[in-house]
Amino acid sequence: MLEDRLGAPLRSGDADEFLRVESVVKIFDDTVAVKSVDLSVRRHELFALLGSSGCGKSTLLRMLAGFEEVTSGRIYLDNEDITDLPPYRRPVNMMFQSYALFPHMSVEANVAFGLRQEGVPRNEIHDRVFETLDLVQMAAFSRRKPHQLSGGQQQRVALARSLVKRPKLLLLDEPMSALDRQIRQKTQIELARILEQVGVTCIMVTHDQEEAMTMAGRLAVMSEGQIVQCGTPHEVYAFPNSRFVAGFIGSTNLFSGTIIVDQPDHVLIESAELARPLYVSHGVSEPLGMDVHVSIRPEHVTVLRSAPDSDYNWAHGMVAHVASVGSHARYQIRLDSGHVVEAHVPSPVLARSDAPGVDDEVFVNWSNDSATVLPS
């Protein structure tokens, strides 16, 4: 369903570029909230800004909406410079984290508010309001006041209110944070479906990497006011460019080491934490003797009873802890060096009689192409 959104990272000057953020900086008094962000978003794309609180993602979103003035830099939307436009002149609508529904107005009046400001004829307002309420399945609740709705219903009204003006750009501020965990996942898929149906270009802000990966076609990881990596969820997950991204998107095992053999088709990395060298078969451009970090995802680590028949990519240790989460079990394995490695063991393996338990001696092992070398 999302395949058409996937693709190579966007370069500046792409014909399909819809939103361009050019070296935007935001300084509050003496703190730098956003330091020089460049961003490019395609038409009809669902783009996620991902980061922990205080990383500047919300400030960036508020600058796109026009609630904060940029300290420097420009913002272009559909080839129009919107940097200096006040929020009420921007073809941008936002769905607020708290929904910000007007408490003194009915659902219908809330959704109609934006159209009334444009001077749309009365019968057209009515048609468009109910068309949008139908889209989010809230037409039956049009006469209710916001406080008479559940959290999920309020969210759908807020979505309808921000879609009814057919904005060029839709902003979602932490769209799921006010919902219960149970309905969150269902709502994520539902929201992505509606956004795709409408075909609106959308930027969402979230601190939840699972949410970003479920919904977004592309995402940017932000830290300390900067974008540290940008790409499709798969790219960012499989090829993180730094220890920060590797740790932020999913969990990972990190080793530090030195490149001791540099061949065209592979490198060998020696790490104090591992008895055997790491063999990495792809994508390494770092020179011989350089100190690097290596990331290995827990699902790529296999747990064995006997030593593998290889010179590389394995270590000996003891099971320290096992936690089952249903589909797989998380093994914490303490290596001889003291380093703890996490491995995900799928449940079919667990069901076997020889599945290792706590305090068992085991060997961890991974394939030549599962490690990623991180330059920083």
Binding site: Y88, F96, S98, F102, P103, F113, G114, E118, H147, K165
Partner: protein, 309 residues
């Protein structure tokens, strides 16, 4: 069963909490008002007290004499009706002026930086530290023909002859607005400071210009604060005595002055009491209607919430 009935005699926490203000209101509002109501139905007499008793036992006959002279005079003499109308008019204009001046002030204070906010609030409350009487005297000094205002304006050459403000209705308006402005600002401030700014941002985001945001979002949401402030200004203004007495002219008709004249100059206690009772009724009726509507609205809201989806 017996235990249950015994427990019924012990007042609940709710009763205990409500009792003190209830008793207070009974003792110091209801009882005095009933006394005034009683006097309003008495007849004028020379003596102490200067009015006739309501009920008397004479020749084994209990007589209950309700004298309606005060009320009859009240509704027949156009002076009293004009006074009532004028009091309400002056209080209404005062309330409107307080709203026009007080709303921007309250809004500005509520939006000010928290460190400045308390300073500004203090500035609003500060006049209360001086007696109202002294402050009204100060206005006499400012507004008199040879007072401060005229002195400054004459000195700058803005006017050739002194403005006649002192002892006119305008002076009364100035005094009333000045004295009651804080009563409008404070409840409105308490409301505006709680206003969710995200609603304002949402309105901007949906294309509303600043003026429309104010009209469609901020004003409706702050209506309870405006109403509370308006009540606090309007009700005491209607019965105000000190300000019209000290700043107003001979023909500034206000209820407070009429009451004072009847009571102290004419020593006509029944008449003064009748004037008071009608005024209380006049003020109480709109208040009760307003309160009733509030309660009904809240009830309706609760019912709809409890009802089936």
């Amino acid at each position: 069963m017996s235990r249950l009935s015994w427990r019924r005699l012990v007042p609940s926490a709710r009763t205990l909490a409500i009792a003190p203000p209830f008793i207070w209101l009974c003792l110091f509002l209801l009882v005095p008002f009933l006394l005034v109501l009683k006097i309003s139905f008495a007849d004028l007499e020379f003596g102490i007290p200067p009015y006739s008793p309501l009920a008397g036992l004479k020749d084994q006959t209990l007589t209950l004499a309700l004298h309606l002279r005060g009320y009859a005079l009240l509704f027949s003499d156009s002076l009293y009706i004009a006074t009532y109308l004028n009091s309400v008019k002056m209080a209404a204009i005062t309330t409107l002026c307080c709203a026009l001046i007080g709303y921007p002030m309250a809004y500005y204070i509520a939006r000010a930086h928290p460190s400045v906010r308390n300073l500004l609030l203090l500035a609003v409350i500060l006049p209360f530290w001086t007696s109202l009487l002294l402050r009204v005297y100060a206005w006499v000094g400012i507004l008199r023909n040879d007072g401060l205002l005229n002195g400054v304006l004459l000195w700058f050459g803005v006017i050739d002859a002194p403005l006649e403000i002192y002892r006119t209705d305008l002076a009364v308006y100035i005094g009333l607005v000045y004295a009651y402005l804080p009563f409008f600002i404070l409840p409105l401030y308490a409301n505006l400071v709680k206003l969710d700014l995200r609603l304002v941002e949402a309105a901007y985001d949906l294309g509303a210009r600043p003026w429309r945001v104010f009209w469609h979002i901020i004003l409706p949401l702050s209506a309870p604060g405006v109403i509370a402030g308006a009540m606090l200004v309007f009700i005491p203004s209607v019965g105000e005595y000190v300000i019209p007495e000290m700043l107003g002219g001979a023909n500034t008709l206000m209820m407070g002055r009429v009451m004072w004249t009847e009571f102290f100059n004419n020593a006509d206690w029944p008449m003064a009491a009748a004037v008071t009772c009608v005024m209380v009724l006049l003020l109480l009726v709109p208040l009760v209607i307003f309160q009733y509507n509030q309660v009904r609205q809240m009830d309706g809201r609760k019912r709809r919430l409890d009802g089936p989806a």
